[in-house]
Symmetry: C2
Amino acid sequence: MKLVVIGGDAAGMSAASQARKRRGDDLDVVVFERGHFTSYSACGIPYWIGGLVEDHEALVARTPEAHRQAGIDVRMRHEVVGIDLDRRRVVAHDLAAGGEVREDFDHLVYAAGAVPVAPPWARVQGGGVFGVQTLDDGKAIHRWLDADPVPRRAVVIGGGYIGVEMAEAMVNRGLDVTLLDKAPQPMSTVDPDMGARVRDAIAALDIDVRVGAHVEGLEMAGGRVRGVVTPDGTVPADIVVLGLGVRPNTALAVDSGIPVGATGGLRTDLRMRVVGADGPIDGLWAAGDCVQTTHLVSGQPVHVPLGTHANKQGRVAGINIGGGYATFPGVIGTAVTKVCRLEVARTGLTELEAAAAGYAFVTATVESTSRAGYYPGAASMVVKLIAEKRTGLLLGGQIVGREEAAKRIDVLAIALWNRMTVEEMTALDLSYAPPFSPVWDPVLIAARKATDAVHAEG
Amino acid sequence: MKLVVIGGDAAGMSAASQARKRRGDDLDVVVFERGHFTSYSACGIPYWIGGLVEDHEALVARTPEAHRQAGIDVRMRHEVVGIDLDRRRVVAHDLAAGGEVREDFDHLVYAAGAVPVAPPWARVQGGGVFGVQTLDDGKAIHRWLDADPVPRRAVVIGGGYIGVEMAEAMVNRGLDVTLLDKAPQPMSTVDPDMGARVRDAIAALDIDVRVGAHVEGLEMAGGRVRGVVTPDGTVPADIVVLGLGVRPNTALAVDSGIPVGATGGLRTDLRMRVVGADGPIDGLWAAGDCVQTTHLVSGQPVHVPLGTHANKQGRVAGINIGGGYATFPGVIGTAVTKVCRLEVARTGLTELEAAAAGYAFVTATVESTSRAGYYPGAASMVVKLIAEKRTGLLLGGQIVGREEAAKRIDVLAIALWNRMTVEEMTALDLSYAPPFSPVWDPVLIAARKATDAVHAEG
């Protein structure tokens, strides 16, 4: 029996490894990967660019050679260009040596990842304009930063996670950085009241933050970028980083007659089998940034390209292909990042998302400390909860603070996962000792205040 | 209407404050407190002794004056010596001025806390032998450490949280410290395999840890302690700290005809009303270290004297007295501490406790890192899970690690609270970014391994 995998990063290689581990030599596994790397942490690229991580090899969890030793036939620099579902065959281009390869399959895992959202003006090749999706992208940025003439001015377009992380990385490299965001403020993944704190932290890094910025184009000269054109003038740039988000890389699947869902991602069942027009397609699996999943709080389909989901989904697909049983029920929108020393985390729905989902809700925001107030290193942290009106069901939470603040979002994530009300949460037996928390954990204080708000609203 | 509260620390003052806040001038509130302080953090005493916290006033969340300004009649240095439930009256001694006070009540909150477990040999008054229950204890220790002759050698008896924390505090003060524990190793609140790491951390502080130690008595001379007598000889000591645990301080309640539960603590209903032989006693409430509660995983009554429970229980009592509605469902045994830089946390049941409760179980222990392995500051952390055989229901968890490890116990605490299985936990949407976690959070890795163990056991 043969498994073919399209894409050799987190989702694809997790699926390949799990399936192979369970079936052993009974299962031939062939993986086609377009780039130069397998199983790497794209999330780590900003830290490598910024100098916190010395070598890109540290970001590679498992090399092609290591996978091969585990019995997986990894074909690097191979791009799959056609899927024939009836004949159960894929066609791939060998990007290095040239030529075409055909491979039959019994099972196919589609793990082609995501592609950057790129307006027409952003579709330049090289010249100092970069996305940050792959380790190959990271290498290209590194080379550009080290090349002569050494870039002095960076413009980052997009104020989401990757944009903010890259802006900080550029500051750490000693560049003058401008962050352009079309939204009213960066980090719109949290509510404006919480985002304002993030904006302050970004500005404190001496990043020139320009919000409501509309990018009209790039100014190029001699094959190099010179600036970013906006209605307010051109922002000079020796390097431009695109952080405009990504969309599922499903072109190949669509060409093969597989329909995509409302978000543009492939639809799957709980076991990560691809769902076509007539239901699940036998032997066809998908995982990672190319799929859509269900938001368990809103009930809506969402596209959440995160390495943690890719790993889980790939593992689930691999277990099922290997004859086991595992499911991926969906996500609740947990995310976290760090801007200098400020930690920012969210889970569930923001106010905007809760309203869009149809919820009526109350909110409660409290400011407390990460440790007992008298304990050295106690730092301010802000917790915001969103709870359904009347029922008090937790709908979402956001945390902004310093060291040891953001990872507490997991407490809210599990409360959400289990459909707890904020009133139930007030009784939670959370850990307490002065080095770790005030005697009332900030999460409990927020739950108390949210409970009061639910009662007050009636 | 009048509320009388016995005990002015966390539980008593929380009850008093909540009730007064809700009823305002309709409710007279009188609090009798034996000592010199209200609403203080006893958990903070070791950090004050060790010099991490400069002033004991930092440990006081609210002074008697502040409570008085909120309309609460706080009577300091008053010890209640009798409760007449039929006449609804208490009698108190004024320890400062002498004399007796009588006070009628409509509601009575019994929040007398706990008293140290003290074998006959430990019942000395002064001379360098101290418990660590109250801020007055802390002041006495401080005075002794600063007095002439300056103590050089400390012996801490008992290797639980307070014993270990006090041992470290004494090291920080520059004393030679011996820790005597009758158990096979200190910190027996975690399983031996996890506890071994704690023991190493304690020993690394140059604390002389002697386990299996049986204390026979104290050697006193000239009114000062000189040593601790064991079968293996006398351990020289200029100061002895007792960390032998506490038991509920219920003598007064028992004298008034109120029966105690299996643990020696007062029994209460969900609203913190005291339960007598014939059911809940109208108008009589209890909270804090003097009550027993239900362990929600074992279903057994337990006595867990922790400030966080005291605060919650007091608040619940106060809300109900004030005409509101709130409940305290029980605990799941969450606790955390720090030994130098080593963080130690637990929740639910240990192996020993799970077996005692009648569970058959499997365990899984994994070693991972607090951050992505390549991110600066990534530190080793060990997560152990205990899951019920066949059902895979999470029964308990323990974490030992460095910075940012222990507070993750809350994730396990909420999973336990919601009766999750380890298999369900593998899908949890926990936060991920390289500064906060490997792409597979250590908790998820442990859940995966525990799931495998459950399946393997069949």
